[in-house]
């Protein structure tokens, strides 16, 4: 491990930021493009992971454990959120027959 950690300077921080931003944008794209609610939900997970990656990268480059602790909590929240979100989606499918986003348009003016 130690060798790995000490040679981390080889990959500059900007590369990690770039990667994280890319993953985040892909997640946003997925949310906007897909009509299936579950795929949209998965895109959210992708976005959260991109953020996790960023925080861990900073934690490694700054030597601070707090970043990883924060990632820990993000994972906790993501797990809870997925549980509830999928339960809601199941209910919607039960009520409306499909999980299409455009089928959820009852809140019209």
């Amino acid at each position: 491990m130690n060798e790995i950690t000490s040679t981390i300077q080889v990959v500059p921080l900007e590369y990690y930021i770039f990667l994280s931003v890319t993953l985040f944008s892909i997640g946003v794209l997925g949310m906007l493009l897909r009509r299936n609610a579950i795929i949209a939900f998965m895109s959210i997970e992708l976005m959260l992971n991109a953020v996790n990656l960023l925080m861990v990268a900073f934690s490694a480059f700054r030597g601070d454990a707090k970043g990883q602790v924060f990632v820990f909590f993000i994972m906790v929240v993501a797990a809870a959120e997925v549980a509830i979100g999928l339960a809601i989606l199941t209910m919607i499918h039960h009520n409306r027959g499909s999980v299409d986003i455009n089928a959820l348009n009852k809140l019209k003016w």
Binding site: M31, L32, R35, I101, N102, L104, N105, K106, K108, W109
Partner: protein, 630 residues
């Protein structure tokens, strides 16, 4: 001196108690509180009076609190105890108490008993403020207050629309006078820098006669007095004010409120002495008013209307006396008039009470036997007002006429003519009401009864005052005793300086006036008692002018009220409907239109919402980037 502060506070307490809790306490308690507070105020006045005289008759100022502090000037709420205010205070509380006592019996069957007493107490409070004031501002407060209470009391039976109209008319005409008063106050303040009596009067004595500022102030103050004391052209409210209950007419429109204008002028006599033109105007306005009112009274058939026009006429005579500078005589006649006019009004109330509400004298008659006490007191009142010798009216009126003769003979002719007419119409009223046979319905005849003692006792007290009140100003010098005129000795500085009639001329004038009065009496007796003429409904000739009240109401209606209404209507159409309404409505329509447009955003499409979120975030980031990094 704190006792002086208690005098107006007692009626105020009565007002609060009767006003707030009157419905919950018994009628007798309401009457007790209402009259008791006035009696208390009267006793306090008497004590203050005695203290005042014992301490050498020094005018004192009693301060309640600082009211307005503007920069360097302070207008304080304070009272002024001197001879003039003490006399007025005694009059207001004394006669007021008698009338409260009378009202206990008169208003007994009314359901709004407590409200009546509350209003009466409030009125006495404001009137006391008026007469006890130390500066013009407090006087004006009382002035406005009595006008307001007059409105409340005239329109007391508010369920009848005509009574409300009469109340509004009274208040509005008073207001027109008040405008003159306020302008006078402004002018006074800008000229003297203060509104306090002592300061203004001491400053004014430096001025010379004919100063235009003083002229303006006095004319404006007189306009105020015209409104309040019902002189031409603002007197048409007083006959209409008879719509109120009779005790109200007695208290307000005979003895107290209408005397406020006279009190104002007597109090400000230093200013008026410096403006001879105003005095001339006052005298002539008073004279014309007196004559006009007397002629109208001759053809009136309502018992209260006759007395109302009689009040206007008598007040006109007092203004004539003021106009020639006879202040003491004016105060004297004010006092005696308060006595006998209140007596006459209360007597009329007793008659109306007995006649179950009938007020037309053509339907009365022969009440002499049924209402003995009322009859005797009414006779005394009539004798007093006509100036029959040795009653109070004789002394005061003759003194006034003598001073008027001294100043200008035409005025004297008008005043004497008015006095003759006064005797005529008063005895016409008397004979038609009390003599010959009863002309009313059987139903009324059954209900004829003398009034209860709460009503007759004040009548008797007032009758005594009307009969012997002349003692306040016996012209002792005519029989050789100089300086024995009580009022003249008591009120400092108010004598008529120009009086130089010889005693013989005075006695001549006196005999002439008595002859006129007795002649009118006999003339009336002949027409109405012996020939038993009853005034008919059709009037011809000049009587039509009198009966139509000189058509003044109609003139006012067409010349003043109509143009205002037309103006109001025009402004309503042009400005309100065409200008303001569209603008205000436009705001509403604009909101609706924009709302319609914006609500299209709420399509319910979740995908669109997500896009909205992302678009918003992107926008913020882009904007942030552009701001921070460029």
């Amino acid at each position: 001196m704190n006792l002086a502060l208690l005098i107006p506070v007692l009626p105020l307490i009565g007002f609060v108690i009767n006003g707030l809790f009157g419905k919950n306490i018994s009628k007798s308690t309401v009457g007790l509180i209402g009259s008791g507070t006035i009696l208390g105020a009267f006793i306090c006045t008497a004590i203050v009076f005695i203290n005042f005289v014992n301490n050498g008759s020094v005018a004192t100022e009693v301060k309640a609190f600082d009211w307005l502090v503007i920069g360097d000037t302070t207008l304080s709420f304070s009272f002024y105890v001197d001879q003039l205010s003490l006399i007025m205070m005694s009059l207001v509380t004394g006669v007021g108490f008698l009338i409260h006592l009378y009202s206990i019996g008169y208003m007994h069957d009314d359901e709004n008993y407590s409200r009546f007493f509350a209003y009466l107490n409030l009125f006495v409070f404001f009137m006391l403020l008026l007469v006890m004031a130390d500066n013009y501002l407090v006087l004006f407060t009382g002035w406005e207050g009595v006008g307001f209470c007059s409105y409340l009391l005239i329109g007391f039976w508010y369920k009848t629309p005509e009574y409300n109209d009469a109340a509004k008319k009274a208040f509005i005409m008073n207001r027109i006078g008040d405008l003159g008063f306020i302008l006078g106050l402004f002018l006074m303040f800008s000229e003297f820098g203060s509104l306090q009596f002592t300061e203004v009067f001491s400053d004014a004595s430096q001025y010379s006669e004919g100063n235009p500022a003083i002229l303006g102030i006095t004319i404006l103050l007189f306009i105020g007095a015209t409104g309040k004391s019902a002189q031409l052209p603002l007197f048409t409210w007083l006959p209409d004010a008879m719509a109120g209950p009779t005790p109200v007419s007695a208290l307000i429109h005979a003895a107290t409120m209408v005397t406020a204008g006279i009190y104002l002028i007597v109090r400000s006599h230093i200013l008026f002495d410096l403006a001879p033109e105003t005095m001339c105007i006052i005298a002539w306005v008073g004279a014309i008013t007196a004559l006009v009112a007397a002629t109208i009274a001759v053809v009136q058939n309502d018992i209260k209307k006759v007395l109302a026009y009689s009040t206007v006429s008598q007040l006109g005579l007092i203004f004539v006396a003021l106009g020639v500078g006879a202040y003491t005589s004016a105060m004297f006649h004010l006092l005696t008039h308060a006595f006998f006019k209140a007596l006459l009004f209360l007597g009329a109330g007793s008659v109306i009470h007995a006649m179950s509400g009938e007020q037309d004298i053509r339907k009365m008659g022969g009440l002499k036997k049924v209402l003995p006490i009322t009859h005797i007191t009414f006779v005394i009142g009539c004798l007093a007002i006509s100036g029959i010798p040795f009653f109070s009216g004789f002394f005061s009126k003759d003194e006034m006429l003598a001073h008027v003769y001294n100043d200008s003979v035409p005025l004297w002719i008008i005043a004497s003519g008015t006095s003759a007419l006064t005797a005529f119409y008063m005895f016409r009223l008397y004979f038609l009401t009390f003599s010959n046979g009863f002309r009313g319905t059987e139903h009324q005849k059954h209900h004829l009864h003398e009034s209860p003692s709460t009503m007759t006792t004040p009548l008797m007290v007032l009758a005594v005052l009307a009969a012997f009140g002349g003692g306040l100003g016996l012209p002792m010098e005519l029989i050789g005793i100089e300086h024995a005129h009580f009022l003249e000795n008591f009120l400092p500085g108010l004598e008529d300086a120009n009086f130089d009639l010889s005693h013989e001329t005075e006695i001549f004038l006196m005999l002439g006036a008595v002859a006129l009065a007795v002649g009118s009496w006999l003339f009336a007796k002949k027409i109405y008692k012996e020939n038993q003429t009853i005034p008919s409904d059709n009037v011809t000739g000049i009587q039509k002018l009198f009966a139509g009240k000189y058509f003044l109401d109609e003139i006012y209606e067409k010349a003043i009220i109509r143009p205002f209404q037309l103006l109001g209507n025009a402004l309503y159409i042009f400005i309100e409907e065409r200008l303001i309404d569209p603008v205000v409505n436009a705001f509403g329509t604009l909101s609706i239109k924009k709302g319609n447009f914006v609500k299209q955003l709420q399509q319910g499409n979740t995908g669109f919402y997500i896009f909205g979120i992302v678009a918003g975030v992107v926008l913020i980031l882009v904007a942030n980037y552009l701001i921070w990094f460029r």
